[in-house]
Symmetry: C2
Subunit: 205 residues, 2 copies
């Protein structure tokens, strides 16, 4: 692209480094910001720089937090004996939105992926084992994505945790609510038949 | 969404104000930036704030520029008697990329759109008329989008410019190169038959 301005080119270049943002989208976003007031643009730029500078990770569950220990770990209303293990903070938000889970979390910060050079030592796995060892945990729920990295991580975590003699569960897999059978993939459909549940158990309480 | 951090929520809110960026995409972008070095994030934030603060519009053609007069208006290699009128800087970039046009530009800064409250006085139309009146312009090319706003603006510009007794042209409309007839809309196809050209003239030089 032929930019009429070096400043413009630089801003577009910075935006196009973001995932899923190409040069044309970046240009559209930058031109949109250019039409705003200086104060709005400063708010935009400062919000992300301030976030990067001041954000902390909860020292217990490693979720993104403004404080040393996050609100969930600090809360008196949560069941402290149940830990739900997730990949990142987006999963915590998704589960919190269901309003169906009242235990604590443990954010791994990623999944084991030899292809991307991510091994167990790059994730918060040791601290999970330590949490389980040091406290009276009654159950560990592994809520990871159903893909190769997720399965590898599941397998590794199970190996590390199985000696503690506590229930280790994973979230249920199956046909989504509202999902139509004919469009479901074969593996999901096949497994959902094999792992069928009594009708009474399928009713939400 | 339940954010675990006010700083995170604020940054996501700022990103989600951008066009075409929803809350989920904004969160993905912000988390991506959060994984980068502080210096990279500062570069990102500062690039857009600096752009907004220091950018100028060329005093001749109103295109985005680092200087008082843009490189195109300043160049000795351009034909100064031809002015191509466009909506915004993206159109200048698109036409420059074709390497088929060597005249000057005039950036209107938008199109006349009563629906959005944009009238002729909100655009750089008076300065276009002044440019045409004051210099020895030999042709004005109107290169505007083929939609209602573009047609309205075309009509208005033609009315304002027709007394100067210079050729006023618009870019050719028709079936795109590589476009298949059966998928073309009726108006374009119909007009392209009515405005057919001799075979020799259709060959690119």
């Amino acid at each position: 692209m032929n930019f009429s301005s070096k400043l413009l080119e630089n801003a577009v270049y910075e935006f196009s480094k973001l995932p899923g943002i190409g040069k044309k989208t970046a240009l559209r976003l930058v031109l949109n910001l250019l039409n705003k007031d200086q104060a709005d643009v400063d708010n935009f730029g400062n919000s992300i720089m301030k976030l990067r500078r001041e954000i902390k990770k909860c020292s217990v569950c490693h979720n993104i937090s403004d404080d040393e220990v996050c609100d969930i770990c600090n809360s008196n209303k949560r069941e402290k004996q149940i830990i739900c293990v997730v990949e990142d903070t987006r999963d915590v938000m998704a589960i919190e939105n269901t309003a169906q889970y009242f235990g604590l979390y443990h954010v791994l910060g990623g999944l084991i992926s030899p292809m991307d050079g991510v091994g167990p030592s790059d994730l918060y796995i040791d601290s999970l084992v330590k949490r389980v060892a040091n406290s009276e945990v009654k159950e560990v729920i592994l809520a990871l994505s159903a893909n190769m990295e997720g399965d590898t991580t599941l397998f590794y975590l199970f190996k590390r945790l199985k000696d503690f003699q506590i229930p280790i569960t994973t979230i249920a897999r199956g046909i989504a609510f509202g999902g139509e059978l004919e469009y479901a993939d074969e593996i999901t459909l096949g497994r959902s038949i094999v792992t069928r549940v009594p009708y009474e158990a399928s009713l939400s309480k």
